[in-house]
Subunit: 122 residues, 2 copies
């Protein structure tokens, strides 16, 4: 009922394409996967998502907040503490995105074999 067939991610100018661009992204995927475990502070996200820089983490979280997928909770403390959490909308995205992460982990052996086959062959 809420599905609107007018939206089509394959159409260059469709707004849903901009949304796809944001969520079909490795950083978004990993952040949402971590946030799926519960409310998390900035620092812990930084260490959980290995290799992400502070800049990219901040920017990605801002974008996710703007799109209504993540909520930001600031505590008036010293040192400051900021926690991030999936919104209801964000939670609906958690399942599909963690499916992607699990696919990567479950099928990496086959992918590595395929790469070796491809690379040798030339």
């Amino acid at each position: 009922m809420s599905y609107e067939p007018d939206w089509n991610v394959l159409t260059a100018t469709c707004p849903s394409r901009t949304s796809l661009t944001r969520i079909a992204n490795k950083w978004t995927a990993m952040i949402v996967i971590v946030l799926g475990k519960g409310r998390t502070r900035f620092r812990d996200l930084r260490t959980s998502v290995e290799g992400i820089s502070g800049k990219v983490l901040t920017e990605t979280l801002r974008d996710l907040e703007r799109d209504g997928l993540v909520s930001r909770h600031v505590f008036a403390e010293v040192p400051p503490r900021v926690e991030y959490e999936l919104t209801d909308l964000g939670r609906t995205l958690h399942t599909p995105l963690s499916a992607i992460g699990q696919w990567a982990e479950a099928h990496i052996a086959e992918v590595l074999e395929a790469r070796e086959r491809y690379d040798c062959q030339r």
Copy 2:
């Protein structure tokens, strides 16, 4: 049974991270979504995935082929005809990736509202 908990996309050096990087990508998502409908020639992919350049389409298809997700079928004709198709492995990825595409289409209204709220508020 086939799930290997040693693999973890959150670990920077884990091979599964490289696989995630490839598949958690807008072009990959759209190409796999189109290929899910069946074997497709290069030109038709080019027009189905609106806005993709020939260069990026070629490069992405090569990478997908290398990872064993897509197979390439060349016909010795003039003018040349090349068709692409999901492999068995690629087909296992089609469901999660089209779920992402459908999420983008199904929830774009909420996302747009959230953006408006966020942007006005500052």
